[in-house]
C-alpha cells in the first residue's frame, strides 16, 4: 500500500463514537473486546511506528462486540476509510491500517464479515447487498466531504 494515509482523519470518527459511548473507560473499553478501541490501537501503533501495514493483525480483531452502535456515526468512519483507501485491488492487504479500521467499524453494524474487494465502488455494492441503509449513509457521507 502507498504511504500517506491520513491517520488523523481516520481517528476523528472513532473518537466521536467513544465520546458517545456509555461504556467508555469501563471494563469493556479494551482493544481485545471493543472494535473501536482496537481500531484506535491500530492507528496509535501505525502513528508511532510509521507503518501502514501490520502483519497478521486482522486475525486479532475482536471476534465480537455486543455494544450498541449507531449506523450514522459508524458510516462516517467507513466513508473516511473509503476515501483513504488506495484501491490496491489485487494487492489489497487485510492488514493495511485502513482495512483494519474499516473491518473493525464494519463489525459494529454489519451482520457478517465482508471481504474487501480492493475497490471502493465494488465495496459499496457489497455493503448495499448486506445493508442498503448503511450503504446509503456511507455514500452520503462521502459526497459531503
Amino acid at each position: 500500500m502507498e504511504q500517506g494515509v491520513n491517520l488523523e482523519r481516520l481517528w476523528g470518527p472513532l473518537a466521536k463514537i467513544c465520546s458517545e459511548c456509555d461504556y467508555a473507560d469501563g471494563p469493556d473499553c479494551n482493544p481485545q473486546k471493543c472494535f473501536i478501541s482496537f481500531a484506535k490501537t491500530v492507528i496509535d501503533y501505525s502513528r508511532t511506528k510509521g507503518v501502514t501495514e501490520i502483519p497478521g493483525i486482522h486475525k486479532l480483531i475482536p471476534p465480537q462486540d455486543l455494544k450498541p452502535y449507531y449506523k450514522d456515526l459508524v458510516s462516517e468512519g467507513l466513508a473516511i476509510t473509503c476515501q483513504e483507501c488506495r484501491q490496491c485491488r489485487e494487492n489489497h492487504s487485510p492488514d493495511c491500517v485502513v482495512a483494519l479500521v474499516r473491518t473493525s467499524l464494519e463489525g459494529t453494524v454489519l451482520p457478517e464479515h465482508l471481504d474487501y474487494p480492493g475497490s471502493v465502488l465494488v465495496y459499496l455494492a457489497k455493503v448495499k447487498e448486506l445493508d442498503p441503509e448503511l450503504a446509503e449513509f456511507i455514500a452520503a457521507k462521502m459526497a459531503k466531504k
Binding site: K49, V51, P55, G56, L60
Partner: protein, 240 residues
Amino acid sequence: MSQAVFKQRNGLMAVVLVTDCGLITPEKLKLLGEMTDEFAIKTFKLTTRQTIIALLPEEQVGAFTKAAEERGFKIGYFKEAVRNVKACSGSSDLCPRALGEALPLGIKLQEKFFGRELKHDFKIAVAGCHRGCTDPYCADFGVIARGNNLFDIYIGGRGGSRKPVHGVRIAEKVREDGIEEILAFILNTYNELAEPGERLCLTIERVGLEKFIPEEIIKKYKEQGEIIDQDFLKLLQGGK
C-alpha cells in the same frame, strides 16, 4: 590497515575511539573523564559514525591509545577495512518507533566484522525502521528492520561523497540469524572481485549486481510462513 589517528590543523592529534554503535556506559564515560587529565586531552568530538574523537598532544598518543585499549576502548580503523558499524537506538528497550532489534544487531556485526581487511573501506549501517536514521540506504551494507525479527538488506550505497549513491535492496524480510552469513558472502565476493582501492558500488557497477546476490543464503533465511506482528500483540495485551 591503519589506526584512525590523525594530525589536526592546530597540531593536536585526533584519536578515534569506537563505541558500541554509539552506546557508552557511565563507567566508560567515567574512564574517559579520568583519562582527560592523565593524557592532557583538550576536547572530545562526536562523529557521524558514532565514534568519539579525543584531541590531545602528539606526545601523548602512544600512551593514550595503549591505556584506552587496556580500559576496553577500541581504536578506529580507516582505509581498507570494515569500519565500525553505525546503528540507531532501535531496540525493544529504546526507540518506540523501532520495528526491530537494530542496536543489538549492529553491535553483534561490529564485534564480528570490525577491522576485517578489504580492498577499500567498508561501511555498515543498521536501522530499526524504514526511516533509516543511520543512513542504511547510503552504506556499503545497509540493514533495515521490517518487524517480527525480519530485515531488508541493501548493498552498494555510498554516502559522505560528492557523488552519493543509493544502495540496492538485495534481500527482503530475511531473518536476523541470516544477516551475518549474507554479510560474510558480500565481503568475500567483494574481496575476490574488487580492484585495489575500489569501493563496493564501483565493483558492482563494473562486474554486475547479480554476483553479489547470495540467492541460496537469502532463500534459506527468508521468512516463509505467516507472521503476526509481535510488537502490536504486546501492545494489544497491555505490554510495552
